[in-house]
């Protein structure tokens, strides 16, 4: 740029002064982010640590340190281990289904035809909905009174009477899984499509030239190259499922008989429903936080180890 060359050469002190002014400006622009991050993220994380070590009833606030009582109470809570087992079960089911289906759909709609675009859009529209709205929608859809599914099953001869989708532990779990798959399949399809498009076409063509059939080139070429995308999807899906709340809160409230109580729902119940103990809830939150960090680090390790092969 001509303007730039005419301004040169600056003296050294001038350069230092400019750099200092630039740094000051930089801080100025970063200030809103810094305020939000420190005030509403760093401080709360420190506070939740302190709360987990204190006697902290919902309504009367901090009653002083009582470590490690909250952690003892949290780990011996009568629903704690049940909720852990249920959350893990749900996470495995949701992750396997969502990633399997996401990959299948991504392969199906990969072609850039008009019909593929229509299908892609239909699969993606549910992911624009909020999880709470989607859950309320399915709450009515599953209802034996107004929902269309119960009469449909009866007409098909698959059920004798009105079907209560949310009435038994197993059907409540699978009904919730179906809602989650409906809501999130498009999201994972999209992430995996991006991964598929990142695979150079020449590689697959080369495999074909070498005599690989469709399945062989998929299993031995596409799938290994898709590994980073699959790993990302797994991390997102596992993290999200371990923290499941909205869908269960709205569809089952943890019922029937606390059979669909997730860990986050337990935290919410301990803090704001009945027990009203923020200290124990904070201890549970710290446990969840530690588990999540460990899971994320382990998954990223595994991902990296896989890439080095």
């Amino acid at each position: 740029m001509p303007a730039k060359t005419s301004a040169r050469p600056p003296t050294r002190p001038a350069v230092v002064a400019v750099a200092r002014r630039r740094a000051l400006h930089g801080w100025g622009y970063a200030a809103p982010t810094a305020l939000l991050v420190v005030g509403l993220f760093v401080l709360p994380v420190l506070l939740v640590g302190q709360m987990s070590l204190s006697d902290w009833p919902l309504l009367s606030g901090n009653q002083g340190l009582n470590a490690p009582q909250n952690y003892v109470d949290a780990l011996t809570h009568r629903f704690f281990w049940d909720s852990v087992v249920f959350t893990l079960k749900y996470t495995v089911i949701a992750t396997v289904l969502l990633i399997g289906l996401g990959l299948g759909l991504a392969l199906l709609v990969q072609e850039s035809s008009r019909w593929s675009a229509v299908l892609r859009t239909s699969i993606l529209v549910p992911s624009a909905l909020g999880l709470a709205s989607a859950s309320l929608l399915f709450y009515a859809l599953y209802s034996p009174q107004v929902g269309p599914l119960s009469p449909l099953l009866q007409r098909l001869g698959l059920a004798d009477g009105p079907v209560s989708f949310l009435g038994s532990p197993d059907s409540a779990l699978w009904s919730t899984v179906f809602l989650v798959v409906w809501r999130f399949a498009g999201f994972y399809m999209l992430l995996l499509m991006v991964g598929l498009q990142g695979i150079p076409h020449e590689v697959i063509e080369a495999a074909r030239m070498d005599g690989a059939n469709r399945w062989q080139s998929f299993a031995h070429v596409t799938l290994p190259l898709l590994r980073p995308s699959l790993a990302l999807c797994t991390v997102l899906c596992v993290t999200g499922s371990l923290l499941a709340f909205d869908q269960f809160y709205i569809l089952t409230k943890g019922g029937p008989d606390n059979s669909t109580l997730t860990v986050v729902q337990l935290i919410y119940n301990v803090a704001f429903q009945g027990q009203n103990d923020l200290g124990i809830a904070a201890a549970l939150s710290i446990v969840v936080l530690v588990v999540l960090v460990v899971v994320n680090v382990a998954q990223m390790r595994a991902m990296r180890a896989g890439q080095e092969d």
Partner: protein
């Protein structure tokens, strides 16, 4: 859709490759039929619940205010439910509007700072911002509930919007930083040498260049705030101040034993409509948001 998103993306250095035309050379009608049936069935499964919600909200149903004949009875129920639909819509609009505003101000200024300025603590702040992703919602909301109480922002829409903004920051800051990074430095350096202040360079030169990023960030912030359920559930105790998703969920729980499914469906339609319309209008920005999410991995 994805292919239309690609040329407009400034932030994607990745190699782009259009999917080729159908590979099968034998693609006769007979062979395509199973494909049509499968894909048609799939499209139906995904769209059916949405269509059903729309139809059910105006259809006659036992136990709703639309017992016989078609009409807007369920919407009328919703209009008069507790504080009334207009109040809940206003709450949702205010919270979403403030969240979008706060998110855009913080992420545009922050993205500019991270992309163009060197200052001590820059990398620490950026990593801290991304670290918000690692901390579960539930872990933060409990201390935030206590903190907002302490500073008098409990039970306020401003407090709620600030909290929602924090959860938007990792994506928004990341997105704006890569948007600014994609704009050639010569552009704003020339303006600075010509005597522009750094703020004026941002406003007049850079902002138009990163507009697609701004739209993506704004869209995601709006959808997240409009749809959020947990934060208001914990932070808002006054039933006249709750946003729409919480109000509709409460409506379902309120009437002991009997659920007004009609009004619930009407509520779902009111909540979903703006999201679906925005999605269809801004599809490529929506897709790009997902893709930059993929890039960070």
């Amino acid at each position: 859709m994805t292919t239309t998103a690609l040329p407009a993306a400034p932030a994607r250095p990745q190699a782009r490759r259009r999917p080729r035309a159908p590979r099968s050379r034998l693609a006769g009608v007979a062979l395509r039929t199973p494909y049509w049936v499968l894909t048609g069935g799939l499209a139906l499964v995904f769209v059916f619940p949405l269509i059903w919600a729309g139809v059910a909200s105006v259809a006659p149903q036992p136990g709703s205010s639309q017992v016989d004949g078609w009409g807007l009875g369920n919407y009328a129920t919703l209009m008069e439910y507790q504080a009334g639909l207009p109040q809940y819509l206003l709450n949702s609009t205010l919270v979403s509007g403030m969240t979008v505003l706060f998110t855009l101000v913080a992420s545009v200024l922050g993205g500019y700072a991270f992309s163009r300025f060197k200052f001590p603590g820059r990398n620490v702040l950026f990593l801290l911002t991304l670290a918000i992703l690692m901390v579960p919602y539930a872990t933060l909301l409990i201390p935030l509930y206590v903190m907002l109480n302490a500073i008098g922002l409990q039970n306020t829409l401003v407090g709620l919007a600030l909290v929602l903004t924090v959860f938007q920051l990792p994506f928004a800051t990341f997105m704006m930083r890569i948007s600014f990074d994609a704009v050639p430095r010569e552009l704003d350096e020339a303006a600075l040498v010509d005597g522009c202040s750094s703020f004026r360079a941002l406003r007049t030169v850079l902002l138009p260049a990163v507009k697609p990023g701004v739209i993506t960030v704004g869209l995601f912030a709006f959808l997240a705030a409009w749809n959020d359920f947990v934060a208001p559930l914990i932070l808002i105790s006054d039933s006249t101040k709750v946003p729409l998703p919480l109000a509709v969920a409460n409506l379902r729980a309120q009437v002991m034993g009997i659920v007004d499914y009609g009004a619930t469906e009407a509520g779902v339609v009111v909540m979903a409509l703006p999201c679906v319309v925005l999605f269809l209008l801004l599809q490529r920005h929506y897709v790009r948001g997902f893709m930059s999410g993929a890039l960070k991995g």
